[in-house]
Amino acid sequence: MRYLTRPWSSHGLQNGATFGPEDCLFGEREGEGSLGQEAATLLSAQVRGQRRRLVLFPYPKREAALSPARQGFPVRPRKGHEPATEAEIEGARALQHMNEVLARIQELEEALEDPSNTWGRLREAWRRAEDEEDPKMAEIVRQSRHMLPVLRDLEKRIRRVLRRRRELTPLDRVQEMDRASMVWLSRQPGTSIAERAGSSQRILATVRRENFDTLENRVLHAYARLAADVAREWLREHDRAKASTRFAQVEGFRKSCKSLARRLADLGVSVAGADVTPNYVLMQDKSYREVYECWQRLLLRQRTEDDLWAWQAQTWTDFAVLAIILAIDELEEAELIAQSPISWNAEAELGRWFEQDRPIAVFWLRETGRIVEVQSRPELPGTQLSLARAHVALRVSDPTRDELPRRVAVWTPHTLRRLELEPEANEAAMLLQQLQQLAANEVLRHGLIMTPARGKAETIEAIRGKARVRAIALGPAGADLAQGFEAVRDFVRSEIYGGAS
């Protein structure tokens, strides 16, 4: 296994060196056999009679991890803590980036509601995402609108139970006694009850006391605390939207959650564990049921967050592919002629939210007379692509077969710190130039690098001989998205209309 910090780089990680936050976590393995490490296969092809696999390793959950050795990675901020240190702030930013990428991907699910116009609707959603002052819908926003009246209602009628317990009770207040209190009484010194009651004139007896520590209230408590945390995280990530009503709404929701949590803590209600089995009240009382359902939804998100964090690079690839598809679909003459159905997963698996067969999308450009196919993690990548280690590609072919089909390698390197585009683009162009010497029935001269902008959208082009690589740094929201997406659009147009050069 060779560890690679960049897909186009032929220099592997030196012995003893570790992956760092500026690196992509790729590995390349030749030959059969299991990997023996936690990894996702991106490409698998027969190259010169041998199986060659390109795999991706997950980001570590903590700062460092072994096999392969990874070190110095930013860590997600702990729940309920404002990031304080430098590392924590970096971690919080990375988390925000991830959440925004996820939001763009999840908009696809909603766009699929009307499958006849998926791409138009998704494009519209992305366009709105470019405006950071108008925050997008999120689970917590939805809950803040929906649950506020529910919490207000519950606050007024928190369920209570009367529990029996034994207490030393003044003689004149004793109403009932159980076996244990009688045993206690019999053991007291004295001949009459008054003597046995001692100087304080109290005996042990059962009394009934109000108690709030029921399962449903523990769930309510857990929900209030979790919702407040999630709301704060959302507010932190959308600090540019302070003026919007949604921001105010989430802010208000966070405050009432906090006060509710405090009140419940005062009433002696503990916090439910995530694995509780719902009781009758949680299932049948309308308000409590809604609390339970919303809590489960937030928990699910918490639960999958580790996984999503580890496989951010996969999610990023899907995001990049969606961006390319949207850019092609935008062309006047483009007609989508085939697209495998997208089936949405309830939870992300290895960073991927949806399943889709190949081909992902095939467009026909009516006037230009070209077929453009978008490929992602192709099953049969061919020698060129597999040597280029690009697991996303465009294939432009001529239906009349007058011209050789062209392929465009697309790299979607995801790193936790921003890449310097220029040297990377040059190196990628060099790789493409080297590949020109291979005999093939396809032309592979052009490449595209799509990498997270992390606040600085940028486009750079590198040319080496006939090989040309464009590197685009784009983001999942705001100006990064607007500029980055424009650059992708630009690349697609140039590739289709000027690509023959």
């Binding site: 939001a103 696809l108 609707r121 709105r128 997008k136 495998s340 089936s343 889709q356 239906p399």
Partner: protein, 785 residues
């Protein structure tokens, strides 16, 4: 209305539309209110996405775009098994409910009320309805209602304000095999206008059917070369379905088997030119408004409108009419308003009324019912099941089915007593098959009758009803024949001729000898037949002699009655002579005998000796021929305590009356028959374990009673009349008793050999399948009389 999500599906497989009242904007909250229509198809299908194990079926617009199942050019996903057309799923060619459910799920999911269109005619049968409902249940669609396509079109028209209350609306629906015509009445109910459907749509098969159109378009797409591996990709092109429905076609690129690309241009193909409408325009001029509902567009749509005759210009509805009508229906379902009124297909069975088997409608004709309500037979059919039956068979007829069926319900254990079962149906309009229930209160159980399992009967309904009419056999009237031979002299005794000659002039004729002669039956023939006829060869002189002797006998008896007869030694011999003349005997005698019985005293001159009663009763039975006398005699006999009857007196008399007279059986009523049956059983029982010397008149009486069928055709028929079961059981007992005698003495053996065949004949008479019309004569002969 509250914020409820509603959805109307028009998934027909040709061109699907789904109308819903909500819109999801990515990144925003769901908005409930505006109508969104999701089109899919034309010629929609479902595709299998993913690998073998984890793969799922996906339908709706996503499947339209999918390369799945479009041929090897697309690689593994192009395999044919990965694509199934919705038409095939709807036509039940594929039993998998998941796939059909995915066709619906692909377009919309999550509505609180779902209404689904269903075609009239063959493809909308009860089985298809159940199939559809099962698939919708599998897809977890809530509150689903199936509504007929023309009704949905009418609902759309109501919403658009195209029709008004009380109008008769003709709706022409374009369908798979041609056109169908339905006429609906607009009726106001609970504040809304609802269509009323009174009959199934009229089907007009013609070349305009979608199936034909698609075939033509496909042929045009494939071209003259015909279907082959080289043209297979053209057959599945999207343009084919678009062209077939008259939609505008743009050139389309297709992937060939070898992954190359091919362009198909069907823009010049006009389907309206290749398809013919029905031969004659259907007349709809009795309708106030005529609507045309089709998924086709352009010239084709105009062709359909032109294929009917109407007073006013026909109104073309948009292709989405059925879907938007379904959404309106879903809204009505949510608000509890009536969607439409429907008739139910008639369902009938056969019950046995007093007049024999008759048709009984479990679902009454002319009954209309609001959609979604359950109809229950207002009055259950009541059937009687005889004791000992393990299963009940019921005939059922459905309006839509070609042949009636015979369903058999197993009762588990044989019935101990005869019991009554009630049969009724429950059905909802357009919600699958009627459920047929059978309740056996005596068993405390309910059964479900399964139409599917029932056996088809190729006969028509009326033939079946006819065949069930019990043709219970009736034993012929007993006529004891006469013959001249009986008058002749024999080896042992002088003939009647001689006797008449000797005795006619005597003051005191030998009545005993005469009577004995008349009672003799050489070769089964009497001198005088039981109807009082004489053999034709008898000369007038002899008849006169007989008449003179008869006159003398009458005179003798008159004297006896006046009690001035000095000669009592002769006793009843003269009377005997008279009674053996059967009905030839003067009517006066019968009156004497009836009076005698009525008096019932020993002081009567005829009954000085108690053994004379036998003559009185049996004589009466022999001679009676007058209807008025018969009536008197029957009334007299029945007025006595039947339990005290003596086998050779009252029982014999009644047996004679019933067996020889054409009219006497008609005098009985149900109550007296029941009493007589009890008497018969008692007469049988009296002989059990004996030598059967007092048996003769019991089978006679039973066979005589069977002649009551002249009045009640199905009386005493096993399975219909409970009395028959009692009679059968005593016959069985007697048979067993007779057969059980180990070593019988010769006389009993002789009797046994005579009676056993008679008993078995009686049994078959009771079942209603008597094969021996001369049963009575046989019984008479068995007695040696």
């Amino acid at each position: 209305m509250t914020n409820r999500k509603l959805c109307g599906f028009d998934i027909n497989g040709w061109r699907d539309f789904t109308a819903r009242n909500w819109r999801a904007v990515p990144g925003e909250e769901e908005e409930i209110g505006p109508t969104t229509i999701v089109p899919s198809g034309p010629l929609s299908s479902v595709v299998r996405s993913g690998d073998e194990k984890t793969g799922i079926w996906i339908g709706g617009p996503q499947a339209d775009l999918a390369p799945h199942g479009l041929g090897g050019g697309w690689g593994e996903v192009g395999r044919q098994e990965r694509r199934v057309t919705v038409r095939a799923l709807l036509e039940k060619k594929e039993a998998d409910l998941d796939r059909l459910a995915s066709a619906f799920k692909g377009s919309a999911q999550g509505a609180a009320y779902n209404v689904v269109s269903i075609d009239e005619g063959q493809s909308g049968g009860e089985e298809a309805q159940e199939h559809l409902l099962a698939a919708l249940a599998k897809g977890k669609f809530r509150n689903t209602t199936l509504v007929w396509r023309p009704v949905l079109a009418a609902l759309h028209a109501i919403e658009e304000g195209l029709v008004a209350e009380g109008q008769r609306v003709g709706i022409v629906c374009h369908g798979t095999a041609g056109l169908s015509v339905q006429k609906l009445l607009m009726r106001a109910a609970r504040g809304v206008l609802a269509p009323e459907r009174r009959e199934a749509a009229l089907q007009l098969p013609c070349a305009l059917g979608y199936e034909h159109l698609v075939r033509h378009a496909r042929e045009a797409a494939i071209g003259e070369a015909g279907f082959s591996a080289r043209t297979a990709h053209r057959a599945v092109a999207r343009s084919v379905a678009r062209a077939a429905l008259g939609l505008t076609c743009r050139p389309e690129v297709l992937r060939m088997q070898n992954s190359d690309w091919d362009t198909l241009d069907l823009s010049s193909f006009d389907v309206a030119e290749v398809a013919d409408g029905p031969q004659s325009a259907h007349d709809l001029s009795d309708c106030d408004v005529v609507l045309v509902e089709t998924l086709a567009e352009g010239r084709l749509k105009a062709r359909i409108g032109a294929s009917v005759k109407s007073r006013n210009p026909v109104i073309d509805l948009p292709a989405t009419a059925a879907a938007s009508g379904a959404l309106i229906a879903a809204g009505r379902a949510a608000r509890g308003e009536p969607i439409y009124f429907d008739f139910l297909p008639r369902l009938s069975t056969i019950v046995f009324a007093a007049t024999g088997p008759t048709n009984f409608d479990l679902v009454r004709p002319d009954e209309t019912l609001e959609a979604g309500r359950t109809y229950r037979s207002p009055e259950p059919a009541s059937l009687a099941i005889p004791a000992g039956q393990k299963a009940v068979s019921v005939y059922l007829r459905k309006e839509a089915a070609e042949h009636p069926r015979k369903a058999t319900v197993s009762l588990g254990e044989p019935l101990k007593d005869q019991s009554r079962v009630a049969l009724w149906v429950e059905q909802k309009p357009a919600a699958g098959r009627a459920r047929i229930f059978m309740e056996a209160r005596d068993l405390g159980r309910n059964f479900t009758v399964d139409w599917e399992e029932a056996q088809e009967d190729a006969r028509t309904w009326s033939e079946i009803v006819d065949s069930l009419t019990p043709r219970a056999s009736i034993p012929n009237r007993l006529v004891l024949p006469c013959a001249g031979q009986a008058w002749e002299e024999s080896n042992r005794a002088p003939g009647l001729f001689d006797l008449l000659g000797q005795e006619v002039d005597l003051d005191r004729p030998d009545w005993n000898a005469l009577a004995a002669k008349l009672a003799m039956r050489p070769a089964g023939r009497y001198c005088i037949s039981s109807d009082g006829d004489l053999p034709p060869e008898i000369r007038q002189a002899d008849i006169e002699r007989l008449d003179r002797l008869t006159g003398k006998a009458i005179e003798t008896n008159r004297r006896r009655l006046r009690r001035n007869n000095p000669d009592e030694a002769a006793g009843n011999d003269a009377l005997k002579f008279l009674t053996w003349q059967f009905r030839r005997c003067p009517a006066e005698v019968a009156d004497w005998l009836i009076d005698c019985i009525q008096k019932g005293s020993r002081t009567h001159p005829f009954t000085r000796h108690h053994a004379s009663w036998k003559l009185i009763f049996q004589g009466l039975g022999r001679i009676i021929g007058d209807e008025a006398q018969e009536e008197r005699a029957v009334a007299l006999l029945l007025s006595s305590r039947i339990e005290d009857w003596v086998w050779e007196r009252e029982s014999a008399c009644m047996a004679f009356l019933l067996s020889r007279s054409a009219t006497a059986p008609l005098l009985l009523d149900r109550h007296s028959v029941e009493r007589l049956v009890q008497r018969t059983i008692a007469d049988f029982r009296m002989n059990l374990g004996t030598k059967y010397t007092r048996f003769h008149y019991a089978p006679f009486l039973m066979a005589g009673l069977l002649r009551w069928r002249l009045k009640e055709p199905v009386a005493l028929v096993a399975g219909i009349d409970p009395l028959a079961a009692d009679l059968l059981s005593i016959l069985d007992e007697t048979e067993k008793d007779l057969e059980g005698v180990g070593d019988p003495e010769p006389k009993l053996e002789r009797r046994r050999d005579k009676y056993l065949p008679i008993l078995s004949d009686l049994k078959s008479e009771l079942v209603g399948e008597g094969a021996n019309p001369d049963l009575l004569l046989d019984i008479y002969s068995a007695g040696g009389g």
